[in-house]
Symmetry: C2
Subunit: 443 residues, 2 copies
């Protein structure tokens, strides 16, 4: 008997499971429903499209529907799954063009539902000039409205997407105001390091307004507690929520932030129903707590794990550190593990060190500043988190920290690591090790 | 009773021990003998000095003799230690300027003797136009002879220093021929990857002659089996040998390549005599074998460990992976752990994967190629080594591999790592993970 895999969602969280599943079950019949117009694309690339570094939307597509079809996947675009019938093992699907609804049976159901940009319940939030940016369809709508040039753009929210979009619109020639309700951009960074990111934005020409609450939107303006800000276009960068309404309505267990609850195999609470990516939970490798972290890296990994299990192989996703990186206005920023506040909330007593160093040996030209913060547990010296901000080549060092945290290394272990050195890359002690040596002084 | 520490060698291997030793023994009296004219400098910076990226020799000095003296260290330049009397706990020191020899007693003796450029026993090797480059004194002599411009430079030997010096002389405007006896440059890289480095050199304007044996030197030419090569100046880049003759003559045990044998505490075979850096052995973290790896990173770490032990704290140096990085003619190259041949020699059955990927998402401009090779053990999947060659931002990823190898991670563990991704840094799977996924297919 040939089994049938139904995939809901045409991007990484869903489609990423298929090849792994087929490895175990080569005859698997696969049908994939995507309510938008694209499959397997880089949503992370949208700011570069908006900023003009990427020419066309299609450049962001890694695998088109046609390519998927050639690989034997029955991809149906503009088909929205509107209900899951767990008992009968069926989904209800609406063809958005014909408005015809059908039912499709599954042996395995792979939910890669993705995330939705958080849209606060404010007056005017549904005005057409207010854009969330999550899918290529969102990007297409945004670009269509933006046209060749938009004079005044307001970005609401200072997360990665908000910051990258603010930069992108400056590159397009717009006057950009970034409005953030809290006292800092980049909530996943320690506040004093986030200050450096805000400064990078300001140097690049973004007007950054912190501690500024948005109260609503009206044609031509964003309304705030400090008065209206003129705007031809608004981008929401408040964050991403799991797109889990469909799963919740079907009776699947939801967890933190209403993300779909999954076990280490990416199995949901219902048999033969799996989930991966922005729609579901992950386990944090340091705190052990369930978290919702909407990142493409996680989606891809979770999808592979789900796929292997669908294919009959036991596989587990070990968890996340929330490792993230971005280039914001020529400044590289990265973080992994727990932030200082997060770590304290998780009950850790902290030894924190911050070092100011350089991206190359100090005696070389074009050396840029670089700040590394290492967060360790007092007493044991175990590394819990790290944050890096600096010039070219600075931020990818976060991966060394991520590997060290995953391995349970202490600051002394990090000092002992045989890391690479040559003058074009740093001083003789890698900046991460300089920070680890400072941690040892306070641990 | 105040103890007395005698340091032999004014660079990292020796001086690096002092502050750690004093932490344990604040009253420690310290005298340091350096036969050259500089202390605590970046020998790795010499190629950038020669190439014109660094203006003055003194720019490479991290801590001058005066600064050391202000820190209470009795630094004596142009003083050569000519003998060690282990029984009496004394060294014999010649003042190179006055030619007066004295004896100095020690409670602890710290040997940071460094390395010496390998000088093959060939006719004409002692001609003044043949330069080894290891110390700032070597660099000063080289620059003095080179003057503002040298027409024809021949570099003998294709190791890091040879390659970096070849590039530096091209930057100075010289015509540079690199002569290497074996079939590849960079002996620590797998041959097919070394080909890419040779190509980078050629693109930069270096004439690379492989499989070319040098038979001698005469004024104006390097003699080879393929005939003479005209040369106004010759740079030796054949490698670095431990400068261990003094230690050997004193009766200290020598090990691999005649490097001073040390235990994990950096203790030599004689009581209260310690060694660190290019003059001594290290233990390889993967093979467990003693190795001689002359790198500033290792010297600094070993010196700290020796210093802590001198200070009365037990400390151990865990070992090395031979992690190294360089920028050769705008191409970044890095390696860690065992190479393919080395790993086979060490008795491992190998699963090797090589991937061609890019330094940024493929859809972004200025994306450069990047090659990652991951070497793992068949069966277990344990990562044994890695090599990376590529454009800007490529090579520092070697540190992720170094951390993974140190932690004993498998290729699957590397795939599971939560590494950072954004389009300016790679595709969604970090290139190291792309390589790890390929390893899993052949493991």
């Amino acid at each position: 008997v040939v089994e049938r895999l139904v995939v809901v969602g045409g991007d990484a969280g869903g489609m990423g499971a298929i090849s792994a599943a087929r490895k175990g079950k080569p005859d698997l019949e696969v049908v994939a429903f995507e309510r938008g117009s694209w499959t397997s694309y880089s949503a992370c690339g949208i700011p570069y499209l908006v900023g003009g570094e990427v020419d066309a939307i299609d450049d962001l597509v890694a695998r088109s529907p046609e390519e998927h079809r050639r690989a034997g996947i029955d991809v149906r675009l503009r088909h929205e799954v509107t209900a899951i019938d767990l008992e009968r093992g069926e989904v209800e699907v609406r063809d958005l063009d014909s408005d015809v609804t059908t039912r499709e049976g599954y042996d395995h159901l792979m939910l890669g539902l993705g995330g939705v940009p958080v849209r606060p319940d404010l007056p005017g939030i549904d005005l057409p000039f207010v854009h969330g940016v999550q899918t290529l369809d969102d990007a297409a709508a945004l670009l269509e409205q933006a046209g060749p040039r938009t004079d005044r753009v307001v970005v609401v929210g200072g997360g990665y997407i908000g910051l990258e979009m603010a930069e992108a619109f400056v590159r397009r020639g717009s006057a950009v105001v970034l409005v953030e309700r809290s006292d800092q951009v980049m909530a996943t960074f320690d506040p004093d390091l986030a200050v450096m990111v805000a400064e990078a934005l300001r140097r690049f020409g973004v007007e950054v307004r912190l501690g500024c609450d948005v109260t609503g939107f009206e044609e031509g303006a964003v309304l705030t507690v400090d008065g209206p800000i003129p705007a031809d276009l608004v981008v929401l960068g408040i964050g991403v929520a799991p797109n889990s309404a469909l799963a919740g309505a079907a009776g699947l267990d939801l967890g933190v932030k209403d993300a779909i609850r999954v076990d280490a195999r990416q199995a949901t609470s219902a048999e033969r129903v799996w989930a991966a990516g922005d729609c579901c939970e992950s386990r944090h490798l340091v705190s052990g707590a369930p978290v919702h972290i909407a990142l493409g890296t996680v989606a891809n990994k979770q999808a592979k794990v789900a796929g292997r299990n669908i294919g009959g192989v036991h596989a587990e996703f070990p968890g996340v550190l929330g490792t993230a990186i971005s280039r914001i206005c020529s400044t590289e920023v990265a973080r992994t593990g727990l932030g200082s506040a997060e770590a304290r909330e998780a009950g850790f007593d902290l030894a924190v060190a911050t070092v100011e160093t350089t991206t190359r040996a100090r005696y070389l030209p074009d050396t840029a500043p670089m700040t590394v913060r290492l967060i360790a547990e007092c007493g044991t010296g175990r590394v819990l988190g790290a944050q890096i901000i600096g010039g070219p080549g600075a931020a990818k060092r976060i991966d060394t920290c991520a590997a060290a945290i995953t391995a349970g290394m202490t600051a002394q272990d990090v000092v002992d690591l045989d890391l690479a050195y040559a003058p074009p890359f740093s001083g003789v002690w890698d900046p991460v090790q300089v920070a680890a040596r400072e941690v040892l002084k306070v641990v």
